[in-house]
């Protein structure tokens, strides 16, 4: 039985929950967000990923209502949000600093938003208890924020922002203050809670692994613009630019001139060696004029390393091992090609150290398949 795939962005009958339509945000003469158009769908776990200062927090603050777009429109549930103040939006935000109220107990912090909803006392108390259970905080209900650990505070902030059952939950670098192990646990907890509550999550992060783990789709941002929006696997396997390929994971970039050849392109990258070949399904191939500048992006784990010239491989290049990084389960070989280009090849360490055939200064061959490399125009 086929499990229905969650992909509302591919379904033209679905209406997006959030629409950015040509949104520009300027602070003085500084453009923080530049003509942004973006759709986010109900029940998505949408990640905004980008380096510090690229405008992620500004996007969130516009959704929450703390900032107004300078130009363009933001729609939530089809309704224009222009002039709607934060307290009248069905949106809640978990702040980067958590912003827990220091004078209130954990219980009162979680109840704070519910008290603004004119519910009966029983309903309110039941909801607070439910949130405490969901975030495993029942034991700490009476404590003040300064009497609990960082991880617990993070969960209070989450419980508080979920308590009002918002349509949309905004999480601004929610796990930034946690150590690595706690962060990984919390990522799965977040996904679990998102699934249980059915809330749409928009999460901001500058940690690409975190985005890959939790998100249904990722928007990679740079200097106020979204460069690519795609599922984690598409972002990784089919980046649309060198920037995205480089931002997500490790990548080798080989620069050259492209020329249409057979079912793909030949890339001339150095003198006196055979061109590299790349192909894709028809329709997925980008158009590059003959002789135009092009980049080949190849992930290190897709590069094989050999002692002899491999037979029957179109893409085989020779070089010398400059460095070996031993990571336990993996080893990365840094190989310098004849024209000085550095290429990394990664292999799983299935054999004991002494049995591995490559070491520093060895002359080796690197190869990859026709479909392993991605051709990029920019």
């Amino acid at each position: 039985m086929a499990v229905p795939v969650f992909a509302p962005w591919d379904d033209p009958t679905q209406k997006p929950l959030i629409q950015f339509k040509g949104v520009t945000k300027r602070f003085g003469d500084f453009t923080a967000i530049d003509n942004q158009t973006l759709d986010i769908y109900t029940r998505e776990f949408f990640a905004l990923l980008g380096p510090s200062g690229c405008g992620k927090t500004t996007m969130m603050r516009m959704l929450a209502g703390f900032e107004q777009p300078t130009e363009g429109q933001i729609l939530i549930g089809g309704k224009d949000m222009k002039g709607v103040p934060p307290n009248e939006r069905e949106v809640n935000m978990m702040f980067q600093s958590y912003a827990l109220f220091p004078h209130l107990s954990v219980w009162e912090n979680i109840a704070f938003g519910l008290r603004r909803m004119n519910q009966s006392k029983d309903v309110l108390e039941a909801r607070v208890e439910e949130m405490l259970r969901l975030t495993r905080l029942t034991k700490f209900a009476k404590r003040k924020p300064h009497q609990i650990s960082g991880g617990q505070r993070q969960r209070v902030a989450l419980a508080r922002s979920l308590a009002r059952a918002p349509k949309l939950l905004l999480l601004d670098e929610p796990l930034g203050a946690l150590d690595k192990k706690l962060r990984e646990e919390t990522q799965f907890e977040l996904m679990d809670i998102q699934e249980k509550t059915g809330t749409t999550f928009v999460i901001v992060t500058h940690d690409q692994e975190e985005a890959m783990t939790v998100a249904s789709r990722i928007a990679v941002m740079d200097e106020g613009r979204v460069i690519q929006v795609a599922t984690p696997s598409n972002i990784y396997e089919a980046p649309n630019s060198v920037y995205v390929a480089d931002f997500i994971g490790d990548v080798n970039i080989i620069e050259g001139a492209a020329k249409r050849a057979g079912d793909g392109y030949d890339i001339t990258w150095a003198e006196g060696v055979a061109p590299l070949h790349t192909r894709k399904e028809e329709g997925e191939l980008i158009a590059i004029p003959d002789g135009g500048k092009a980049y080949l992006a190849i992930r290190p784990e897709k590069v094989a390393i050999h002692t002899e010239k491999p037979q029957g491989m179109t893409n085989a290049v020779q070089g010398r091992i400059i460095d070996v990084a031993y990571l336990g389960n993996l080893s990365t070989y840094h190989v310098r090609l004849a024209n000085g280009t550095m290429v990394r090849a990664q292999t799983a360490n299935t054999r004991r150290l002494a049995l591995r055939p490559f070491t520093w200064e060895d002359e080796v061959w690197l190869s990859w398949t026709d479909t392993a490399a991605i051709l990029l125009a920019e």
Binding site: N87, N92, Q96, F112, G150, R153, S161
Partner: protein, 273 residues
Amino acid sequence: MRRLSWFNVTSLTLGFAFLYLPMVILVIYSFNASKLVTVWAGFSTKWYGELLQNQAFLDAAWVTLKVGVAASTLATVLGTMAALVLVRAGRFPGRTLFSGMIYAPLVMPEVITGLSLLLLFISLGVDRGVFTIILAHTTFAMCYVSVVVSSRLVTFDQSLEEAALDLGCSPFSAFRLVTLPIIAPAVISGWLLAFTLSLDDLVIASFTAGPSATTLPIKIFSAVRLGVSPEINALCTIMISIVAVGVIGTSLATKRAAQRQKRDEQAAARAAG
């Protein structure tokens, strides 16, 4: 504790003597049984009893109390509002002028403040009395309150207020439910400071008081011109106690707030680290 050298002990003693000897003498003579201020004739509390019989002093005390409570409350409200604008509004045209104008009365000679208020009241045709003293005291106490409150607001994390808005509060209820309880120690210190200032003000009060309303400092000042009486000593002793309680209360509140903030910051740093 490190032992102090004889030099340190001497300078400490001299310094404190210089500051407090006059007051100590005043307090001691308030318990003098003799009517002659300069002749000690044994311990007695009779002057305190007589003070309670003196209707003129009691009336002045009542006026002073009314003025103090009303003016410091008004000054606290207005001063807190001014501090909010100064700290929050970021840059707006005329900001430097505005903040300068709020703090100017701090350094303005009281005589000038008093005189200008007097001229204002005369030109507006306002009868001078309790009401005008309240207004005058509010004016000069307000800037002290705004200094105290804005120094607290500078370190206030504004995302707390945004969180309150995000959770459904109107801007006013966000202030009432989140900002105000957190900055309350500073607001209380501001109030106590304003109250103390109002209590012992002579100059501005004498410009703005009318025949119908006399404050204690004015009363004392005019009584002393006819000669110092032990009754006045008793009255001053009471005022010294009230001011001392106010000042100590203010500094304790400020210190506790600072300690709490430090503790919170340390806890936050531990959580982040």
